[in-house]
Amino acid sequence: MDDPRLKIRTFFAQRFRGYELNDDEDIFAIGFVNSIFALQLVMFVEKEFGVVVEDEDLELANFNSINAITALIDRKNGGTD
């Protein structure tokens, strides 16, 4: 079973060249990303992991760190709606 965390780390590694992003680091707070990137991130999550990001999931808190994104994917795949 693929660990989503690894794929997410790769996604960021490809975009944040030369910066070691920690799993719990807030990507918006460190100032690297803008709103366009946020949208690319949502689309990546949907396409790569086959989850549907609903309106209520569309909060910065669900996408602002590797941990947050991994937790969202776990909830969508494992949890009941």
Binding site: M43, D55, E59
Partner: protein
Amino acid sequence: MSIQTVGVVGAGVMGRGVSQVLSQAGLNAILVDVSDEILDQARLEIKQNIRLQRMMNKTAPGETTDAVLQRIEFSNEYQKLERVDFLIENVTENFEIKREVYRQLDVICPDHCVFAANTSAIPITRLAALTKRPAKVIGMHFMNPVPMKPTVEVIKGFNTSAETISTAQELLERIGKEGIVVNDSPGFVTNRVLMLTINEAIFVLQEQVADAETIDRLFKTCFGHKMGPLETADLIGLDTILNSIEVLYESFNDSKYRPCPLLKKLVDAGFHGRKSGRGFYFY
């Protein structure tokens, strides 16, 4: 006049943004374009932008993304505009194309419908003359990206009535924007001065006075501009810039508006800026 439904003609960058803000303000919009492919892309992009705004805004929105999107009707039929109260035209920045569009709209749209031309440089008076309702034709120059920019340059054509200006201002207020009224003149205020600045910056680059990054950096750090002229050109689209400066050149017959050869070359080469992946910078 109570505006219920707004027609948006042209589903390019501006048409998409205008449709989005209309629908987010609770109005119904009919987005018309000749190309089904462009309409499909528009639907997708508008949906993503609504979702993006939802994510970036901290306030809880009252409606679902789908509810907002449902207020926009996507169509390739001009005939659908027969029931609109107000119309915003954003087709290609080209007079001949607009001529044909206004001819059709004048026949299809109801008599009370205001035509707002979202043009960046074509004189409103000239567009109004294409119709039988010049008093109801006004310019509404939205800025890009439409959802983020709070101000719209509103242009009073020679024959535009006070009532039309008032209707336009009310609509803008409803969608959370402020209209600033200017008189009709090629390029109005914003584009005339901006195109000249951008064109001159391209001359500076062509003459190798400085490279692109340096030119932009000087504007940002010396003047506090958010973006330098060449970055701005890439955002607007070099083909649009060239179109606009050519319109200014023809309108004023003043050589100060002659397009920089480097700009023409880049446009010929297909480097149209952000939308084509390359302009003065790579994307």
